[in-house]
Amino acid sequence: GSSSTETTAATMDDARDVTLILGAYSTPQEAFKVIIPAFQKQWKEKTGQTVNFQESYEASGTQARAIAGGFEADIAALSLEADIDTIQKAGLITTDWRTKPHGGMITDSVAALGTREGNPKHIKDWEDLAKPGIGVLYPNPKTSGGAQWDVNAIYGSGLKISEEKGKKDPAYAADLLKRIQKNVKALDKSGRASMTTFENGTGDVVVTYENELIGRNLEGQHYNIVVPNYTILIENPAAVVDKNADKHGVRKVADAFVEFLWSAEAQKAFAEKGFRSVDPTVAKQYEAQYKTPAGLYDIKYLGGWDQVRKDLYQDGALWDQILAGK
């Protein structure tokens, strides 16, 4: 049936209980497990109101499409800007979410390589992934935000390497991606699924969020985390889905929750699970957890998300060409 919140008006903001619907991508689930109770407690103390949560964790692309297609999430926490843009284009986000602190990003990470314990195949850099006999894993960029970061990282690094050698050469970058793609064992639907496949014993190396690898190691695995010299800075946004929040009459608490994500408490929780904090003080505290390579670049190096989509992911763009074996 339909939830009781759906038909309530905005004036009900102060009613006893409210329900927030969170649509998130697949990797921050563990962090939210800590953050949500903290927020509930804080909100209760502040307003006396109980906040219930309904959460959904899907691959970032899937989640964005679901929200755009009618899944009435109040808050979207996705892997990448482009997916928030999808929701915005559907007319559900009406305010400029980028004006929020840190440009709307709640966490950072980098694209990293996870190898089996002891790095038996001696994987150091992207070129190693293209070597014969290496099994590579990353998810499917059609559904997964993580995968787009991974592919961006490979492609961007290709550009960087060629730049280093003389000139920024998209052809070289495309070729690198193509050679690595040849070694891919399985294209899963989300970053999480890809990690699961790796954990189940397939492949020699998984390309994924650095936080995902750190998180697994914190849970007792012993993966070697390799951060190549050139890799991309991952920035994960969160935003209130205005239309839905207004419809459900939870605007205030939704805003408060997103705001809370930048609090030191929440940022620490993220960092505990392996993310790089967007809050410099917290980041400093957890510095030891990460290695920041000299060649780190961000999405702007590739011309921003709009450009990336055009170059790589549009129908018939580079990604499709590579799959088609052209």
Binding site: S56, E58, G69, F71, R216
Partner: protein, 265 residues
Amino acid sequence: MRRLSISITYLVFLVLLIIPLGKIFTSAVSTGGSGFWHALSTPEALHAFLVSGLIVGTVTVVNTLFGVLLAVLLVRETRISRRIRQFLNSVVDLPFAVSPIIGGLMIVLLMGPHTALGTFFEAHGLKIVFAMPGMILATLFVTFPLMVREVMPVLQEVGTQQEEAAYTLGAGSWLTFWRVTWPAIRWGVLYGVVLTIARALGEFGAVLVVSGNIINKTQSATTLVYQQVENFNFVAANSIALVLAAFSIVVLLLLEWAKKRKEVC
């Protein structure tokens, strides 16, 4: 020959069904019974079972009713031309052949919030997609052929004579159905019910597309299994899978037992 065939049969069952089930079992209890119980008693798991139960209940009732009626129509209604019946007959099986993903997609496309139907229903306070009605619809679609397919051959086999006898004894169509047709097809219907329960319980693709997979709301036991796998909670995944499998087995065995009892009398 006999021995060999029986051995092969056992082997196939062993490899295809029993060993995998055993594996699920051992994985489910790999951290001891408490891990198993814990996995099942989390609020998400309980809610997911509730969702699955609701879907299964509704779908079974609706499909049984309409499935039986359609089967009767297709077999007995000779006034409908043979060609039309043959055509409907082939259409009945199509949900088997349609990828569940597409089944789900069609529901989203036809009844999503941005469609005329979706808006209409929403205006009347009924959300379809990313809510229970959509999941039920998707499951109805996927399981529809089961009942029809079970009942049709039985109806064909019992023939019309007993029914004719009932008419000549003064019974009308309704009474004839309940007193004569129904007892003849009830085992077929029961079997159809079992299959529908089983399939509805296990449906994944279609539900995935229409549910939004909202924890504690639209997450079904099956999608929860999938999510638990993704979250590296193999014990939890296997525990839930084991419950689903065990439930199905129990239902199947109950049916077999009931049949046996019936044969004895």
